[in-house]
Symmetry: C2
Subunit: 316 residues, 2 copies
């Protein structure tokens, strides 16, 4: 099949646009989409020091590479990478290795924050005694460490590799569950003290597009799924959206547009809560204690978990 | 299985509440739910003259019966029924017969407005030449005749039998399609000249509950589907919600709650458009011509369809 724009062989069929794209035109499309989204949401601005949440999986690897490719030459910007080591044997080692290779290849600072150094327990230990699902602990601790690390490293933005598939699933899940508060938190928020603004340059790109771009560029692509990953509702919604998109291409984007159109109203009904500081660790929270400290409290009698006062970050 | 409230045999298992209900407690639940919803949205108020849109199918038959059962004794209220005869051979005759039986049994006025008398063409003829899907014509003409008839008959409310299944499908479809304007139109609107306020007393009741109630009461229940019915997207969304509800009971209600939670802000961001009058037929519309007149114009060269100036209503 020929490219819809030139005479070259197509490498990608973009179902929702009906376009066949060759390597050059696919790459152009992909990079232009990032530039457009970055501009639209003012994700990258002069003077920014941007921390990239780099797990070493396919999406964050591609994010790191492409951000440096597109914006790495700008002298008014700084980039660094943060990797969270949750302590998952047989899983994280592989991606950690890739993550190191990636930051070395693009030449940016790279820091690792581990659950073990910062909460005195690996996820492998936590899940043995915790009564919640593994993701409930991991999600809270990972976000906590990413935000705290980015701040301590003087970053003012935190880039994550969430893509259109992730976003449309999250939006639809929250809508179905009538969780309008969570829905509201997905729209761009004003800056609050202690909270590093998160940016998602991939939010309008299909997972398939990211994977294709990564392959075309020859990036190391790891597809392993976390052994603890268990999201039954999300999986159900994901399958529905997958079928929906297959039958009616473009639905993932239109779910995202729904949220955008609702953004203004959500700002009225669900104004951002003024954050205070956690009474234990001083991190920003809407309650007395932050979620991480609550979980640490819950777990500390069961294992010798504790919240290390000083953030432990390893520069590699 | 015993009823969760008494010693009688259960006739219905309400999955989302985990309750088994006997005939009495199911009936109590059903009628109480209607009273609650009617009160919550001020659907029925002193002095109302309520036109019931009665097709003669299972839902509208049950609606007519139960509204008269619950509110028929109130001397400050009046009820009447309107049936639209679209002109669908082999389908509408059956339900028309039931509709007549029902209004006779509850003793209310009953009017029939037909496509043939009011647009000089049956749906069977329209679909032969029309380029749109049958439902596109039928939906517009039916709503048009219901509103106009209700108004000419001095009704101030129009009750339809839309249930929770219908509502949750419509809400989710609009959300997925990023059609926030249509989503906004699902929330209760302020009255506008010429437009009869529509009320949906079944909006929080599952289709299954309506059918069960109808059976228990011995109402004539027709399940026939219109031969022209073709809603591929809706069917797809319906199947998804069905599976979702099966796995995570209560989701239909929570989709409805999502819209309710958004209602206040949607009123601000998507205010109701001021209606004007159709330049041809004087019926309320947001544009120069109403949808019905546009469709009539589109069809009139192909068949001898016309918009009869005077509404033709047959009292039976």
């Amino acid at each position: 099949m020929k490219c819809s724009y030139c005479n070259r062989e197509a490498v990608y069929y973009q179902r929702y646009s009906g376009k066949h794209l060759c390597r050059k035109h696919f790459t152009d499309f992909f990079e232009k989409k990032i530039r457009t989204v970055v501009k639209k949401y003012k994700m990258i601005e002069t003077g920014d020091r941007i921390a990239i949440a780099l797990s070493g999986g396919k999406d964050s690897t591609t994010l790191t590479k492409v951000l440096l490719e597109l914006y790495g030459d700008r002298r008014d910007l700084e980039f660094l990478a943060i990797t969270i080591d949750e302590g998952i044997e047989g899983y994280r080692e592989k991606t950690l290795k890739i993550a190191k290779e990636i930051t070395r290849s693009v030449g940016i600072e790279h820091y690792i924050a581990s659950f073990e150094d910062n909460f005195s327990a690996k996820l492998d230990e936590i899940v043995k005694v915790g009564e919640k699902l593994p993701c409930s602990y991991c999600g809270v601790f990972r976000k906590y460490l990413l935000n705290k690390s980015a701040r301590e490293l003087s970053a003012n933005k935190l880039a994550t590799a969430h893509n259109l598939d992730d976003e449309s699933q999250t939006i639809l899940m929250n809508f179905i569950n009538a969780d309008i508060d969570r829905l509201a938190r997905l729209i761009p928020q004003r800056d609050q003290e202690g909270l590093i603004r998160r940016i998602k340059p991939f939010m309008e790109l299909y997972e398939k597009e990211i994977v294709t771009y990564g392959f075309l560029k020859g990036y190391p692509m790891i597809f392993d799924e976390c052994p603890y990953s268990y999201f039954p509702v999300r999986a159900f919604v994901r399958d529905f959206i997958y079928e929906l998109e297959r039958k009616y291409p473009g639905r993932k984007i239109s779910i995202l547009r729904s949220l955008e159109k609702l953004a203004e109203s959500l700002r009225i009904t669900n104004p951002q809560i003024e954050l205070s500081k956690c009474k234990i660790c001083n991190e920003p929270t809407s309650q007395d204690l932050c979620q991480a400290c609550k979980l640490v409290n819950e777990l500390e009698n069961k294992i010798s978990i504790e919240h290390n006062e000083k953030l432990s970050l390893i520069k590699i």
